[in-house]
């Protein structure tokens, strides 16, 4: 996520928190049923918050504000603390993702085998920078640190699929099959 996004997200959250304190209801409503299941799976334990947020993200592909707000109320954890956790850990995102999520590995093995050139090539092909989502919501592109598949470097994950031994000359066309 870029800086502007994260600042906007924080601003929205803080404004909404103050609004909630003043008795103003947030407009969007959370998916209470899904959240109920997730909370139950973790025994509604506040210490399990990282796992809870991970499960929420697994459903929505990001942490939607109404859902986070709901959890904050249910587990009695201040929204600011959830924000601290969501921004500290790399796994969490506060903005919606594209239909296909590309995670390019920038681990050391990939780096020495040319991941930087692959990154440039993907950025050229999708016309976005790492960390962004295309305007048509087709792709989100981000770089990650080591997927642990160093033997097949350079690698990326597209959604659940591992694509290995990438080449900067062909990676652009390889992405076209993800509609």
């Amino acid at each position: 996520m870029n800086k502007v996004d994260s600042i906007n997200a924080m601003k929205e959250m803080l404004l909404a928190e103050r609004g909630a304190a003043a008795g103003v209801r947030a407009t969007a409503s959370p998916d209470v049923r899904t959240l109920g299941d997730i909370l139950a799976r973790h025994g509604r334990a506040a210490a399990q918050i990282i796992g809870i947020l991970q499960d929420v993200q697994a459903v929505f592909h990001y942490l939607p504000e109404p859902e986070v707000r709901f959890i904050s109320g249910e587990l009695d954890i201040p929204l600011t603390r959830l924000y601290a956790i969501a921004t500290f850990y790399k796994a969490f995102r506060l903005s919606p993702r594209g239909r296909h999520e590309i995670a390019l590995c920038m681990g050391t093995a990939c780096h020495v085998r040319g991941a930087e050139r692959v990154k440039d090539a993907i950025e050229r092909a999708l016309k976005i920078q790492a960390g962004e989502t295309t305007g048509d919501m087709r792709y989100s592109f981000e770089t990650v640190r080591c997927l642990g598949c160093c033997g097949q470097a350079p690698v990326m994950m597209v959604d659940e699929e591992l694509v290995s031994r990438l080449d900067h000359l062909t990676v652009g066309t390889a992405l076209e099959k993800y509609k």
Binding site: K90, A91, T108, V112, C146, L169
Partner: protein
């Protein structure tokens, strides 16, 4: 996986009854996957495709014949090798921990039990006092495989002696070092070996609750561990009254959120408590006051997997492997084996397990087969992002905890990244500092601001704006960060800068003084152009150029329009006449 399905189909079709197909964990020889081993002959087939399966079934399984063309071809002798153990990649290894991976279906506890699994636990619960377990582990000289190299037995002893209402056992599977994946491999391929180690450890220190903190990026590892825990519970190996001994212990899996610093013990514990993973000062050690302020033993995956081996094999057997003398002092040497992930510009990438004390040269050249594509070896980076880069002159260094630290690097979790002449050492230093700057939690100033300053200078150098005195400044800042940071992340963060300056000063000089990148990596210092006298006009370069900035007719001399060049290097790689200069 397709190969596995093909075997199942084929064996069912042929109605073979005495054949069992196992989907095992990683064999470690990633370069030559998919790998198939036929027992009991131990015939190794490499690069197997689903289409090869009918032939293997028809020849090897039914008639006992060998499919020659699928055997491993030894590039040194040009001969094919039949037996897994004879392949040079495996021959020099000692696979105490990884060995199980090739014979065990991780989703079936019976496989592990059939290979002496949980025998160590049974022995301990039936015949050993907790103190005897601790004494054995201390005497064995086992040191933490996660990077710290702290004697495991001493850790356990302190935890046992510390006061607390509860005690905790943690397995650190937050394998954050880029370039290292042995913990993933063990968790996925042999999860019960980790569980057994943890249960024995829990018994020794008197803990009843355990956690495995595993990266969320490793979904297969999470799955394998979850299944393993369930099966262990069903067999009475976890839970109340384990094997009727009266001792109770259970394990919970906790998934990490993707923060490198959470490999640090206090940060990991903060994360387990549901907080941002920021380390704290360790004036009180976590073995005394760790998770929820209680005595806590945290060991790495590989360390836990060593424990059952030591219990079964005994101290004398274990201390015969490795370097130094630990009979009176567990710090006196490095015992047992260590798993390295051999990656980067190397022929045989994969996981290798060797006795401590083997030299870098043996690991990289004898096992790893040397540098990829016949290029020249430049450096090997050990110890993860905060390890160091060691040059060719140190290739005969024996690899153990103490020798690596003396050379300015460290064991770390066992990443071993080989770099060749096409790797720029200044860029590598910049890369690691960039990584560490991102991963610094920001709590303490030297790490947060110091790394930012180092990155600024290194970036300046790679962009051709290096100044006289930059090296001295880098060294000064590095010393400051190392001396004053709160945790080991900051404490060791300057290692990549210091070792590259120490061993590759020339390359820094080339960037700073001559504004050149000898390895051809730093983009700002590269200027691609066509050498008219060499160019044959073959069009190979213009065909691959993603920016379409190379002009020239067939058979005519080509030209690169530098303003539009994206400096991807495709033309340089494509040219067969050395007609592109950079």
């Amino acid at each position: 996986m397709n190969v596995y399905e093909a075997f199942k189909r084929e064996v069912a079709r042929e109605q073979l009854r005495n054949v069992e197909i196992k989907a095992t964990g990683c064999h470690g020889f990633c370069e030559k996957g998919a790998l198939v081993v036929v027992h009991p002959q131990e015939i190794l087939y490499t690069q197997v495709k689903p289409g090869d399966v009918p032939e293997i079934v028809a020849k090897t399984l039914k008639k006992g014949e060998v499919v020659e063309r699928l055997l491993y071809l030894d590039p040194a002798t040009g001969k094919r090798i039949k037996i897994e153990g004879d392949v040079p990649y495996y021959k020099r290894q000692m696979r105490l921990i990884l060995g199980g991976n090739t014979r065990i279906d991780p989703s079936d506890i019976r496989d592990y039990i059939a290979l002496d699994g949980y025998q160590a636990l049974r022995q301990v619960l039936e015949h050993w006092k907790p103190r005897a377990v601790i004494r054995t582990i201390t005497k064995s000289g086992l040191r933490g495989r996660g990077g710290g190299g702290f004697p495991t037995g001493l850790k356990w002893e302190t935890a046992r002696a510390s006061k607390g209402s509860r005690r905790f056992i943690i397995c650190n599977a937050d394998e954050g070092d880029p370039g290292a994946f042995m913990d993933r491999s063990i968790c996925e391929g042999n999860p019960h070996s980790v569980l057994e180690g943890m249960i024995i450890g829990a018994y020794a220190v008197g803990a009843h609750e355990g956690f495995i903190y595993v990266r969320n990026e490793y979904p297969l590892a999470v799955e394998a561990l979850t299944v393993a825990i369930e099966q262990a519970r069903e067999c009475g190996l976890l839970g109340e009254n384990i094997l009727g001994s009266g001792f109770s212990f259970d394990v919970t899996i906790s998934r990490g959120g993707g923060a490198f610093v959470c490999g640090e013990s206090t940060a990991l514990m903060a994360s387990l408590e549901g907080k941002p993973g920021e380390p704290r000062a360790k004036y009180v050690h976590t073995v005394e006051k760790g998770l929820w302020e209680q005595p806590t033993v945290l060991n790495n995956v590989e360390t836990w997997a060593n424990v059952p081996k030591i219990v079964l094999g005994g101290v004398d057997w274990y201390t015969a492997i490795g370097t130094g003398d630990v009979s009176s002092d567990p710090w006196g040497g490095s015992k047992g084996t260590k798993i390295f992930s051999l990656v980067g510009k190397i022929k045989h990438t994969g996981l290798v397990e060797v006795p401590m004390g083997m030299t870098l040269r043996e690991i990289i050249f004898d096992i790893g087969g040397g540098v990829l594509n016949g290029k020249k070896f430049k450096a090997v980076q050990t110890g993860g992002p905060s390890g160091g880069c060691l040059p060719e002159s140190l290739l005969d260094l024996p690899v153990d905890f103490d020798a690596l630290t003396e050379a300015g690097s460290m064991m770390g979790s066992g990443g071993m990244i080989v770099m060749d002449e096409d790797t720029c050492m200044v860029d590598v230093a910049r890369y690691f500092i960039d990584f560490l700057k991102d991963e610094s939690c920001g709590k303490c100033l030297p790490c947060r601001e110091g790394l930012r300053a180092l990155l600024e200078i290194l970036t300046r150098i790679t962009e051709g704006n290096g100044k006289k005195g930059d090296l001295k400044l880098l060294e000064e800042i590095s010393e400051g960060i190392a001396a004053t940071s709160l945790c080991a992340l900051g404490g060791s963060a300057p290692n990549p800068v210091l070792t590259t300056i120490r061993y590759f000063r020339n390359e820094y000089a080339a960037h700073i003084r001559d504004k050149q990148c000898p390895a051809g990596v730093c983009k700002a210092l590269l200027h691609f152009k066509v050498l008219a006298e060499q160019c044959t006009g073959c069009n190979a370069c213009s065909k691959v150029c993603p920016a379409n900035c190379i002009s020239g007719k067939a058979k005519g001399i080509h030209a690169i329009e530098e303003a539009r060049c994206v400096k991807c290097g495709a033309c340089y790689d494509a040219c067969r006449f050395e007609a592109i200069a950079r």
